[in-house]
């Protein structure tokens, strides 16, 4: 598998990150660069998108909300994916860093879900004439938000760190199955108003659904949001690791 992926040298290094010390060193080194890149991509993408693209013929300037809506929705889904992967690695390999990555990923993803829903509502009011409709895409995003809430609430409810890590991981895995199930169940339940996917990976740069004037800044802000997610994820995980160290130190102090 390793050689097939052509990443013979990547994975051993990747798994070394499970050592908190190694993780802290590497994330500390990467973080300033990541922040700089995020600011660069996001700044350029958003300014380009907001000020330097023409208004759409029919939608006017409301079209520009796409530069926030699409990237945040993209991160909202991938945040859950990261959460599930982190939980899975924790259950299999019992390395604390992975579950802390999952824990740090949840609030970021949750916020992105809220941003996607809010920007969608703001765009929907002039375009569809209503802030909210029970459309499959909107509904499944709301459901995704509920799953995030449950996960975060379970983390907050239990003190014992190892126990709560196990429980939330189990919840994340089962939740993922049911989230996908809900995603397809709502398709049977109601016909949609939301347009289909605008940006597809398979289509590459020759996007058919969107003019390249709009697509290039969109791509940039999507990359920017991805980097933003990575930055926040690293900061969050570093905070969690420090919080755990603090807890251990406090425990030692009490023993004395």
């Amino acid at each position: 598998m390793r050689t097939i992926l052509g990443m013979k040298y990547f994975w051993p290094y990747f798994w070394k990150l499970a050592n908190p010390k190694v993780f802290m060193r590497w994330s500390g080194l990467c973080l300033p660069w990541l922040i700089a890149l995020t600011v660069l991509c996001l700044g350029t993408g958003l300014i380009w998108g907001f000020f330097l693209t023409p208004d759409d013929a029919r939608q006017g300037s409301t079209v520009k909300i796409i530069y926030l809506h699409v990237p945040s929705a993209f991160i909202a889904i991938n945040g859950y994916f990261v959460m599930v992967l982190g939980s899975l690695f924790w259950l299999v390999r019992r390395q604390h860093v992975s579950v802390l990555v999952a824990k740090a990923s949840a609030p970021i993803g949750m916020t992105m879900t809220v941003i996607a829903l809010t920007t969608g509502a703001i765009w929907g009011q002039p375009m569809w004439g209503t802030y909210w409709v029970w459309d499959p895409r909107l509904t499944s995003f709301l459901i995704l938000f509920l799953f995030y809430i449950g996960y975060v609430a379970l983390w907050a409810a239990i003190e014992n760190q190892d126990k709560v890590a196990d429980l939330t991981s189990v919840l994340a895995l089962v939740g993922a199955v049911f989230a996908v199930l809900s995603r397809y169940a709502v398709l049977f339940w109601n016909q949609g108003l939301h347009q289909g996917t605008t940006v597809t990976v398979a289509d590459g740069v020759n996007q058919k659904n969107i003019s390249s004037i709009f697509f290039q800044p969109l791509l940039l802000s999507m990359i920017g949001f991805g980097l933003l997610f990575l930055t926040l994820l690293l900061v969050g995980t570093r905070t969690e690791i420090r919080a755990q160290r603090l807890q251990v130190l406090e425990g030692l102090e009490k023993l004395k």
Binding site: L91, A153, L154, A157, K163, L171, V174, A179, A185
Partner: protein, 218 residues
Amino acid sequence: MIQLFTRDVVLSVRSGGGFGLALAFFLIVVVLMPFALGPDQFVLAKIAPGLLWLGALLACLLSSDRIFGMDYEDGTLELLATSPLPLESVYLAKSAAHWLTTGLPLSLAAPVFGLLLNLNLKVGGVLCLSLLLGTPALSLIGSFGATLTLGVRRGGLLLSLLVLPLYIPTLIFGALAVNAAALGKALDGSLLSILAISLGAIAVLPFFSAMALRANLQ
């Protein structure tokens, strides 16, 4: 496993626990609805399928924290964990007992309560069938949620927060099936989808619940 199952059934029937309570709760929800929505027969008949499904679902949810709660508090669960019976089977036996004492009576009572909401008996039959197929999933998911919130004091709210999103697919297909029957349409596979969810839950959830139980008991 069978002994554990009969013990749970007997306990919930005799000790005034979940057995009648879930049913009574269901009745009250159904009775309150016309007060909230007005006594118009057409409106009631239109929304009855969804209401009855929702009521049954809530009744199932509210009784599910009792599945493990009592046994966790008095230490029975720890004894069970040290017994040769695997925790997966403990979970299955307890969920089955929960289904027999809440899911089954709820399903059978639903068509009768449906009469109160102007739902005709033919549709009531489909409702009963859909609930019969769906309540095992509700019981299994509910008791999975109960294993997650074992150690949490006053975990009722948290339990509903975790479990209700998981109920969504079952609810969607259940209400779809009954609505289709009410409109005289073919049942377009909704019943099969409910069955699939129940069977999938039986196949997968025991392992995750046992994992959660082990984490809670270590």
